[in-house]
Amino acid sequence: MQFGIFSVGDVTPDPTSGRTPSENERIKAMVAIALKAEEVGLDVFAMGEHHNPPFVPSSPTTMLGYIAARTEKLILSTATTLITTNDPVKIAEDYAMLQHLADGRVDLMMGRGNTGPVYPWFGQDIRQGINLAKENYALLRRLWREDVVNWEGKFRTPLQGFTATPRPLDGVPPFVWHGSIRSPEIAEQAAYYGDGFFHNNIFWPAEHTRRMVQLYRRRYAFHGHGRPEDAIVGLGGQVFMRKNSQDAVREFRPYFDNAPVYGHGPSLEEFTEQTPLTVGSPQEVIERTLSFREMVGDYQRQLFLMDHAGLPLKTVLEQLDLLGEEVVPVLRKEFAIGRPADVPDAPTHQSLRAGQEVSAA
């Protein structure tokens, strides 16, 4: 099982100091967070793509390429890549390029973005959101898998005898996850292609996540990719930890109460009870995270959102130390217990390349 973190890349004022980091500080902080993830033994760093303030990461492959050069083992991913508004030709090329530079340590998570206005910024129409996700992704797959593509669709100019360059590393396209919170169509898309399905599992009750993952698993089997338990599932989660549970609650409360995504609604206590947000000791985080398996079955990837609500970089790095040293080692051990041997791991470049060699032989 893979463990990692995902960063939205928001610039949020620290409510305890009133200070807002500059874009430059936030961008550098995201890099520091990614490097820390590798240092403390996490497997994955995934970053968002946004094209509006207060978010900074508009250019994920620039940042991931830089991180790739400074890491050895970390898998670099996205959360999410906008399959609706990016030209699939550019996605195919950017991420194949990144694959080469990172020696295959790359996968992607497809998503549709967080805001309606992003569509016209890239010449698209939000009313076609799902249709764009369908057509663009179908083309992206072909661009990675076929050396020469002739294509005609509804949303971009036709392609004639087109070759996306560079070709994917070793002829193996990056593994793709599809991220969705609410849209069953996206779970269906993941199931149709036999791709991974990621539910961010934050801000919403666990019951909702359970239902979407169960839908994906059933449809994965329906489309002939294997048993429901063979489907590739990733979950998010968000935590704030201190050795002592009360310290965690006391320190996080002003961040919770003021954050644009949490604040001014339910209390911290209500929110942690009703959603997967966990604020407490490392042991509480371990117990909560292990309970996700009861909700969705044995799964493949767990990503935590750690740099949220305006927490300063120093605090986030301390959180990552706790996550890497005290939480994830226990989770690796506990999740392995009782996990059937035939439940697959998350695909990696190596495993996909090996699979391709087997099927070619």
Binding site: A138, F203, R211, Q214, L215, F222, G265
Partner: protein, 204 residues
Amino acid sequence: MRLVAVSAGLSTPSSTRLLADRLAEAARGDLAAQGHEVQVDVIELRELAVAVANNLVTGFPAPQLAAAIDAVTGAHGLIAVTPVFTASYSGLFKSFFDLIDPDALTGKPVLVAATGGTARHSLVLEHALRPLFAYLRAAVVPTAVYAASEDWGSGGDEYTEGLPARIRRAATELAALVAARPADETPDDDVAALERQLSDLRFD
């Protein structure tokens, strides 16, 4: 079968709640006379006010509110009663129905009613409540019941029936719609319902 009355009254005792109770009891009596066993639940939105506001902020209902929403969407008939605030339904009443899936009330028999200090606001039922439930594709009964303060202490006159008669007429209309509606099929589990919804989706 189950009738659910939603009352957006805020005071205790509340004339909005009183009207909801009267309507529910009249509809229950009608259905009972036809041999139906009827359970009546009354939902006081006042008790859910904070949960409703929180849901607007977070996008999901807390457990108590989720139970109320399930009761409304699962009822065989719905009685919706609001006080008139500033020439319309109350904000709490509207916010509660804003949280219900737009398809969840399709075809459901609904009786709308309102209370107010003066009879001059009675058309609120026709220009605010009826369009709201029309949008939700509910089957709103023809008689909507408005109770002004004066209605509680007076009978009818040469132009109109008194409140008790209007309550009886509206309840009879609701009971007839509820009784005529086919019994619910055993619902699929929620994932199966999603699966069915996806069966037409094509990616090639």
